[in-house]
């Protein structure tokens, strides 16, 4: 989990790309980033909460994002971080995951996976507040439930993973799970926002009623 010392100093933070710089260097998916920026998931209540958080003396003033343009979770979620930054005045800086392994190492999912996006909230002095990784816990639970449903549909034993499924069922298992989770992505974007609010609410002791 988080180290007691960090490579994210104020000077390092300043080296991160601004959103427009990130888009300019992106080789793929610029259309997707534009799409999800326009189709924003933040509600007025969300904006109000993030503004309240940002107004606190030790509230978030900076967001560090770990991202790569090729990643589907990134093009769905990063525009939301940009929207939060624009609405609140927080400084969003983006670091490419594969060019910044030392930063990524501080925020590995379950201590091992280089899952992105990661959004790290810092105070104006670059003191860590909290962070969000990849997708919400609600989305992870839903994925687990969908996998259960598909196992049952394909008559696979409980607990079968993609790795342990019989060769003959493996691709059907994966295809069916993908088909069921893809329509859930719009809802998962909202869940991500809800989770970021909850994380900040807890870290800042700021009451929140989404």
């Amino acid at each position: 989990m988080l180290q007691t010392t960090t490579v994210v100093t104020p000077a390092r933070f300043e080296q991160g790309l601004r959103y427009e710089e990130f888009l300019a260097q992106a080789k793929v998916n610029r259309d997707k980033f534009e799409l999800y920026y326009k189709d924003q998931a933040l509600t007025a209540a969300d904006v109000s909460f993030f503004k309240k958080a940002a107004a606190l003396p030790n509230g978030p003033a900076k967001i560090l994002a770990l991202a790569e343009a090729w990643c589907g979770d990134v093009f769905r979620e990063l525009p939301t971080a940009e929207r939060i930054a624009e609405a609140t005045g927080m400084d969003l800086r983006i670091f490419l995951r594969d060019e910044n392994p030392d930063i990524m190492d501080e925020f590995l999912l379950n201590g091992k996976a280089r899952a992105i996006p990661v959004f790290v909230f810092y105070t104006k002095e670059t003191r860590y507040i909290t962070h969000f990784t990849e997708r919400s816990s609600g989305a992870h639970k839903e994925l687990a439930a969908i996998m259960d449903q598909v196992r049952s549909q394909l008559n696979l034993p409980p607990g079968t993973t993609f790795a342990t499924a019989p060769e003959a069922s493996k691709q059907a298992f994966l295809r069916e799970v993908i088909a069921r989770i893809t329509p859930r992505f719009p809802e998962w974007r909202k869940e991500s926002i809800k989770e970021m609010r909850a994380l900040l609410s807890t870290a800042l002791n700021l009451p929140d009623q989404p």
């Binding site: 080789k27 790569e68 090729w70 589907g72 993609f162 790795a163 295809r175 893809t182």
Partner: protein, 77 residues
């Protein structure tokens, strides 16, 4: 090209652990393949999306399509 049909085409993203593991395995086994990098070109990415949602995507010479590797859900594209 006829040659394309003799080896599998694999759509990859080099930052994707499942893609790297698949290529490492194939390289160690001497499997011949044609790699198409979906992280470097919008055109290749769109081509990959015609076959699936998660890399690595393997298009076998007989037309079979496989996504992921060794059970990893891989990276959504």
């Amino acid at each position: 090209m006829q040659k394309d049909r003799e080896v599998p085409i694999v759509y990859t993203i080099r930052g994707c652990d499942a893609c790297v593991k698949l290529l490492r395995k194939w390289d160690s086994e001497g499997v011949k393949y044609e790699e198409r990098r979906a992280d470097l070109s919008q055109e290749v990415l769109e081509e990959a999306r015609n076959y699936g949602s998660v890399v690595p995507i393997v298009v076998w010479p007989d037309g079979r399509i496989e996504q992921g590797f060794e059970g990893a859900l891989g990276c959504f594209i």
